[in-house]
């Protein structure tokens, strides 16, 4: 059977891994290639690299990093952050990335999803959606969750699927950073609504949260950053736990 995926997310700034809470107090967390290798060797199913640098050099630095990661690791990885054109994506894929994740740029110009799906195939197009529940409605936010839009999560999810996204990475801003678990209610609705895989993100605090999001949230994959970086959860332990909970997992 197809297994549920565990995906550590690495935040990248100027070619280095950084860690902090909610993008504040960022500390250098070492060489991304070494960290990626460690994760892949300990059972991560995929990796996501989120580039948060804002320098003019960023494109070149990121392309070099992607190449080094692709050389070193033997599992799939996704690259996101600041991607807004077919050209950006071509550079990343040509350097060995398997998928790219787009977020604000897709909201601002939804045709980008169609363009990428046509040119490179849906399999490499992940649309990341940050949303926050306000007065009972899940509202899509931009710029790492800072800027609200008028778009509702479920409408947008349906649209990105129709435009050719291969996967949705949904981050609940209500849950992100809380360590109280994933937004399973919204995830379950999402998973029924669209027929592409859903990655749950935001809220992981312990192993039970992963089991809950796979069972109650019907997520196909779960992403987390800090619990892995700060070694609060070790991936081999998490996978053993999930297996005991009868969740299909790759061991």
């Amino acid at each position: 059977m197809l297994t549920k995926r565990i995906i550590p997310c690495l935040d990248i700034k100027n070619g280095r891994t950084v860690k902090g809470l909610n993008f504040l107090d960022l500390k250098d967390a070492g060489n991304p290639v070494e960290l990626a290798k460690k994760y892949s060797e300990t059972g991560a199913d995929e990796l996501v690299f989120l580039d948060i640098s804002a320098t003019e050099e960023r494109r070149k630095t990121l392309a070099n990093l992607v190449k080094e990661v692709a050389r070193a690791i033997n599992i799939p990885f996704t690259v996101g952050g600041g991607i807004s054109s077919v050209e950006d994506v071509a550079i990343l894929l040509n350097n060995g990335a398997d998928k790219v994740s787009i977020n604000s740029s897709a909201v601002k110009r939804p045709e980008l999803i169609n363009e990428l799906a046509t040119k490179f195939g849906s399999q490499c197009v992940v649309v990341a959606i940050d949303a926050k529940q306000i007065d009972g409605k899940w509202i899509v936010h931009l710029v790492g969750g800072k800027e609200p839009t008028v778009i509702e999560l479920f409408d947008w999810a349906k649209e990105v699927e129709q435009r050719g996204a291969g996967e949705i990475l949904f981050t609940s801003m209500n849950n992100d950073g809380t360590k109280n678990g994933f937004a399973n209610e919204a995830l379950a609705i999402l998973s029924e609504l669209v027929n592409i895989p859903i990655i749950a993100s935001g809220g992981a605090g312990n192993s039970q949260h992963f089991a809950d999001t796979f069972i109650h949230g019907k997520a196909d994959a779960a992403l987390a950053a800090s619990v892995f970086h700060f070694q609060e959860i070790e991936i081999p332990d998490l996978k053993q736990f999930l297996k005991k909970e009868n969740i299909q997992i790759r061991l």
Partner: protein, 197 residues
């Protein structure tokens, strides 16, 4: 050993190059007929949409060359699908090396299938040292139904052929270059096949 990776503008070539490098071999990327013909091993990658990939293949005439190759050839993912008779995707006529019609998963399951799934009933030196039910990474919306060329199976919606073989031609639906150490072992097995197949 000369290992050619066919370049026709529709493959995740860098990943395959790196995987081959990690297992101690070296490959080159080409669309040159003579270089492909004289290689000891040929890898035929592919990602994206079938009909446009087939068009690109035709532009360089490689659709004529590939079925005539005599050395071991390994199609990966869309590469494997294009080696079949046809694909439902874009109503595409394939290279007809495998007498198999590629069809789409239904909406009973999430499409694409994306992630790690098991391969079993392994029947080829390609899988030397690989246990039944080992996990491989797959990303695809279309699949090869069970057929007489099948040398491995995977379950998703139904039991389907996840690897094919006919004479010197091999095809795998999964991505050995992205499937951890076991995927690398399969690539290594392919590269170590005797040259006359």
């Amino acid at each position: 050993m000369k290992i050619a990776i066919i370049d026709y503008g529709a493959g995740n070539i860098q990943s395959i190059l790196f995987a081959i490098e990690r297992i101690g071999f070296e490959a080159f990327v080409t669309n040159d007929w003579n270089l492909i013909k004289s290689a000891d091993k040929v890898i035929f990658p592919g990602v994206g949409e079938a009909s446009s990939a087939m068009e690109k293949l035709k532009e360089s005439g490689l659709n004529i060359l590939i079925p005539t190759l005599k050395q071991p050839v390994l199609g990966i993912c869309l590469g494997m699908q294009l080696m079949c008779k046809s694909s439902e995707e874009g109503n595409t006529k394939g290279l007809n090396i495998f007498d198999v019609e590629i069809i789409k998963f239904s909406n009973e399951v999430k499409v694409p299938q994306m992630g790690w799934n098991t391969i079993y009933n392994l029947k080829s030196p390609l899988f030397k040292g690989i246990n039944d039910n080992e996990y491989m990474y797959l990303v695809h919306s279309f699949y090869a139904p069970k057929n007489s060329n099948a040398i491995a199976y995977t379950d998703y919606e139904t039991e389907y052929a996840t690897a094919l073989r006919k004479d010197n031609f091999y095809g795998v639906q999964f991505h050995p270059e992205k499937s951890g150490i076991h995927g690398e072992q399969i690539l290594k097995n392919f590269l170590e096949l005797p040259i006359n197949y």
